[in-house]
């Protein structure tokens, strides 16, 4: 089966959307900025849209998130950009200009559409997935793979550090979080 078509319930390893959302909340994130991504649609974006603890800003194109998150950061308000890796690729110049050259704490949660979670992203048979981590490395952006429940513990300290030292961050979602 094409990895795109693996539903969370077909996956043998569960990654719970609820634990990721709890980690996002614990990190003080108030604003979620998003273009829908099928990897995170059911397990993250839908429950976030229903959760009054978050302010969800639906944008038309992913690079808008970089500007909005930057504006919010000047007001000491934390935001998480929730997008697909294609949107990350489309936003590279905004990330370069705002997040890196302006040293802004732009925190991105990026769904790896088409990734086979049993492999490492940089070994993915999908070209688009395979290049993400090398691009993040080349840009000097810290990144973490969130592929299993044990990885969720990385989220809060990574976001705290991004805001404490004002640098961008990428959290790569390697499998579809369940609605649990």
């Amino acid at each position: 089966m094409d990895a795109d078509l693996i539903a969370a319930e077909d996956d043998q390893v569960e990654l719970k959307g609820s634990t990721i959302i709890a980690a996002i909340k614990a990190s003080g994130v108030e604003f979620i900025l998003s273009v829908p991504d099928i990897v995170t649609s059911g397990g993250l974006l839908r429950p976030i849209a229903r959760d009054p603890a978050f302010k969800l800003v639906r944008v038309c194109k992913e690079d808008e998130c970089i500007g909005i998150a930057s504006g919010l950061s000047y007001c000491d308000r934390r935001a998480l950009t929730l997008i697909q890796y294609t949107g990350f690729l489309d936003s590279i110049n905004a990330i370069r200009g705002v997040a890196i050259e302006y040293r802004q704490p732009i925190c991105m949660m990026i769904g790896l559409l088409g990734h086979d979670p049993s492999t490492a992203p940089r070994n993915s048979p999908r070209y688009g997935v395979r290049i993400i981590e090398p691009i993040l490395d080349a840009m000097g952006i810290p990144h973490h793979l969130i592929n299993a429940e044990a990885d969720v513990a990385k989220i809060r300290p990574a976001i705290d550090d991004a805001y404490a030292t004002s640098h961008p961050l990428a959290l790569l979602i390697g499998r579809r979080p369940s609605g649990a």
Partner: protein, 187 residues
């Protein structure tokens, strides 16, 4: 037709503790009117000024945010009109300065110099939309526009003001960003 610097002088008479987001040629002309900590110059990633302004407006809903965006810049981020209208910040006033050129990049024309940004903003769902071609009219209305519940949009139809010098090192200066953040924490 109006000139951009004339419009900005008229606008500046009504600006006190608002955050002003400006980029490229608009930033240069706005800065000529004086230094202020609440300026936010978003050079480096063209088109994002309206998105920066939205973030500031959402982050500080009690504070008015003014965006001075060029037409070439808005064309790179037209979706932000829809995003801003949907987010509906009451404190955001969004100007597009329409001179029909990518002035900072050699003054080549934008793809369609007659594009109607006000019509786009109205269709996107901005609360109030204005359009100005006469300076006297803008001078009369500028104060009123800044008081309206947003999101407010206004097109300023201008000619090129004068050849500009782009001091990007100054606009990019990290001290400006630190001063803005400090000012936002104070007020």
């Amino acid at each position: 037709m109006m000139k951009r610097d004339q419009c900005f002088r008229a606008l500046a008479r009504h600006v006190n503790d608002e955050v002003v987001v400006a980029t490229y040629s608009s930033a240069v002309d706005w800065l000529e009117l004086g230094e202020r900590a609440l300026n936010y110059f978003s050079v480096g990633a063209m088109g994002l000024d309206s998105s920066h302004a939205l973030g500031l407006a959402l982050g500080r809903p009690e504070k008015r945010v003014i965006c001075l965006q060029g037409d070439g810049s808005l064309l790179m981020n037209l979706g932000s009109l829809v995003t801003i209208a949907a987010a509906a910040p009451k404190n955001l006033v969004h100007f597009v300065v329409q001179n029909g050129t990518y002035e900072a990049n050699g003054s080549h024309p934008i793809p369609n110099t007659g594009v109607e940004f006000a019509a786009m903003a109205r269709a996107a769902g901005y609360a109030h939309v204005h359009e100005f071609s006469e300076l006297a009219n803008f001078e009369q209305q500028a104060g009123h526009i800044l008081q309206q519940d947003g999101p407010v949009f206004a097109t300023l139809h201008v000619e090129r003001s004068k050849p500009l010098t782009y001091d990007y090192a100054n606009l990019y200066d990290a001290a400006r960003r630190a001063a803005l953040k400090a000012a936002l924490r104070e007020r």
